[in-house]
């Protein structure tokens, strides 16, 4: 994991350094002398290895440098203001995608070849093929312009976390009631009651929080749905395929033979195996959602990191570009690690040495 980050930093650094021109060259009204002073201040005139070494040294202390475009702001500051909207949007989108995808995929697999199955799979294939930058504007066209239900831009949405604790308590309660009714299954194949409760609660908390957030912030609905659509579709397809594979296996047949109810069989036994492809997809999905936020933030004028990144790349704002790439890289690598751990937890056959 540190290796990946190191390669990422080096590669990005090399790319930016290899590019012709300086970040101050494009600006007009910068006299030659001032430009040289600026380059001196940012240390751009030093040999590359010194710059690289200095950057690594600062990075180790968590200092990402100063933006060359907004000269009075550090990269850390910019990231601190840009991250909350992006995180909120991305988190809401991935929770929505999971909620829709898991439910649609499971029902599709349990009721294979039903009308619901065909309908949801067609929608899912369509959802995967239509790029976010088409869905976004089209959703705006339909819901904001034609029907006037939702606001066009989300620039002013409120970043609030107050919804989360309320949702958490509510979801815990619901999860407790649900798991109480599902009896413990055969040893070795079942989740412990506490674990099952925790998992379900976590998902429900997230869903409830996302929903409360959306109700309180209608401006967030369109961007979140736009971002969630392709991943929800993909998750639905993966979930359906995974469940179909598991449903035919012996341990599920055993569970049925014991006389367990269909709900118990699906929720307690099949789900755990069927969800595996979805879990391994979560890593790429988070990457995709980060990338997608570049587009969605642009469409809906959200002042987040994605917009900042595109602008900084266009402005050649060296340190800002580096900072955002490193942050995103770190997020992805961490997430992939978490996914690996969860995977091992769900599927005991997999062991990491």
């Amino acid at each position: 994991m540190p290796l990946v980050l190191f390669v990422l930093v080096t590669l990005t650094f090399a790319l930016i350094r290899a590019a012709p021109g300086s970040p101050f060259q494009g600006e007009r009204n910068v006299p030659e002398q001032v430009r040289q002073q600026l380059e001196e201040k940012y240390g751009l005139n030093d040999p590359w290895y010194e710059q690289y070494g200095r950057y690594l040294g600062r990075l180790a202390q968590g200092d990402l440098g100063i933006s060359t475009k907004y000269r009075d702001r550090t990269v850390n500051e910019i990231i601190r203001t840009g991250l909350p909207p992006t995180a909120l949007l991305g988190g809401t989108a991935i929770v929505l995608a999971l909620a829709i995808g898991l439910v649609a995929g499971t029902i599709g697999a349990v009721r294979q070849n039903s009308v619901f199955d065909y309908a949801s799979m067609s929608v899912a294939t369509l959802g995967m093929s239509v790029p976010t930058f088409v869905t976004g504007p089209v959703l705006v066209l339909v819901f904001a312009f034609a029907w006037k239900l939702l606001p066009v831009s989300a620039s002013g949405f409120e970043v609030s976390y107050s919804a989360w604790p309320v949702a958490a308590v509510l979801a815990l309660h619901v999860a407790w009631r649900v798991t109480e009714r599902v009896r413990v299954g055969a040893a070795g194949f079942s989740w412990g009651r506490e674990a099952a409760c925790a998992w379900l609660a976590a998902l429900l908390v997230a869903v409830a929080a996302a929903l409360t957030l959306l109700v309180r912030n209608t401006a967030l609905i369109l961007p979140a749905v736009t971002l969630a659509l392709p991943y929800g579709s993909r998750i639905a397809r993966l979930m359906r395929a995974g469940m179909l594979e598991v449903v035919g296996q012996d341990y599920v047949r055993t569970a049925r033979a014991k006389g367990l109810s269909e709900t118990t069989v699906v929720v307690r036994h099949a789900l755990k195996g069927g969800i595996l492809p979805v879990v391994s997809f979560l890593g790429p999905a988070v990457t995709g959602i980060l990338v997608g936020s570049l587009v969605v933030e642009r469409i809906f004028a959200i002042p987040g990191l994605g917009r900042e990144f595109v602008e900084s790349a266009l402005n050649r704002d060296y340190f800002l570009v580096l900072g955002i790439v490193i942050l995103d890289g770190a997020l992805l690598v961490t997430f992939n690690l978490v996914v690996d751990v969860v995977y091992g937890f769900l599927d005991p056959r997999i062991r990491y040495d």
């Binding site: 790029p131 034609a146 397809r237 587009v295 690598v333």
Partner: protein
Amino acid sequence: MDRARDPADEKAEAAADDAHRASDGPWRQAWRQLRRNRMAMAGLVVVLVVGLSAMFAASVAPFDPRISESWETSLPPGARHLDLVNEIVLQKGSPRERDVPPRVLAAMQDGHDHVLTMEVLTEEVKQLRLTMDGAKVVQIQGDRAARLPKVELGEDDFLRAKEDGARIAARVLEPGAELPPGSPRKDGRWVLLAEWVRRAPDARRKVEAGFGYGAISRVLVDGAPHEGELRIRAEHVRDIRLDGERLEHVHLLGTDLNGYDVFSRIVYGGRISLLVGLVATLVSLTIGVVWGAVAAYAGGRVDVVMMRTVDVLYALPYIFLVIVLMTAFERSLIMLFVALGLVQWLTPARIVRGQALSLRRREFVEAAVTLGTRPAAILFRHIVPNTLGIVVVFTTLTIPAVVMEESFLAFIGLTVKFQGEPIDSWGALVESGRNALGVNGERWWMLVFPGAVMSLTLFSLNFLGDGLRDALDPRQKGRS
């Protein structure tokens, strides 16, 4: 068939079919499989149609996407429009190319006599002086400061501010009325000098031009000969006929803000998008196949190092690097091929390595080794060709991914430049369509059509890819 089918009959047929199938090569079998998959076949048809029309864009697109018709901007889909040029100049003798509509020019060359008839609006401009209170009209004065009680505009009439030529959207002007939004406005009491452009229907002139042998022989205005040159602006022409036949064309999908034909732009845009998709996929395939096959064949430490590299690169947020690459360097087409190709080669490297590992232990490879064939020859004659099935599937599934990535880059403003000129791929069209929507989305066609064509193509490619995978690699069937 009127005879009820006997189940035994069917079984025999199926058996014969199976036997027949077994005698076919793997490619024919796959083709058979694919033909049975209706969605995949539909996808294939769509992909072929889109691909061919992009290939022969010049003959498919009705208009040149580089020629804008500034007098017909933002026409809705299906709008019929007269064949015109910016300014028609009629004068005895050979006209210059840009002075008459192309179809007239074409007709001139055939050596026969033709007659061009036009109906042209004449404009009468009246000066108005509006005394305003904010956006409210207090007093209207016409010529010689005469007060007018009310001004009602005819269908072709319009009002414009004298100062900057801005249109004033009012249809009726009377003291006490407010000017509609979009009109010039100031706070407090002020004076707005306006022009009332009247285009009375009875003020239409009939212009006739006769020509033959490549030259205009006579110009008549309302039946009387006109000497010297006659200039007619496109926006004043209400009717134009060549030998009695109306000269008009249809913009199937409308025109955009700059008067370019949307359909033509989509066709030409597809050329860029699909070209990028195809070439970048081939680049990534070449790297990936060679990398994977070499790693598998070499084995041992080389294999470990090569595949570790792939693992590390896999974990990078690649699209960010592509963006950095595209902004840092010149955004040429080749750069784009390289950037996108470099992103995609990791997956085929892994797949091919897996395949090659199992192929390496097969008898025919061992036979080749025994015969003393060089390793390179074994790799490219024996191992790589046998991974082709998977490579084909990968290609059809990667093209849409690359097309999407390229359009994504174009959408965030990183359009490719070719010889210094930006080229509009589908992504760029969608982006400009989004910007052109207007306050209420009234110009929807500039967004919806490019988006729909693009989505349909990606949808079809995905279905085709899925179908091919089912046909070529039945073990994977049903996976997503």
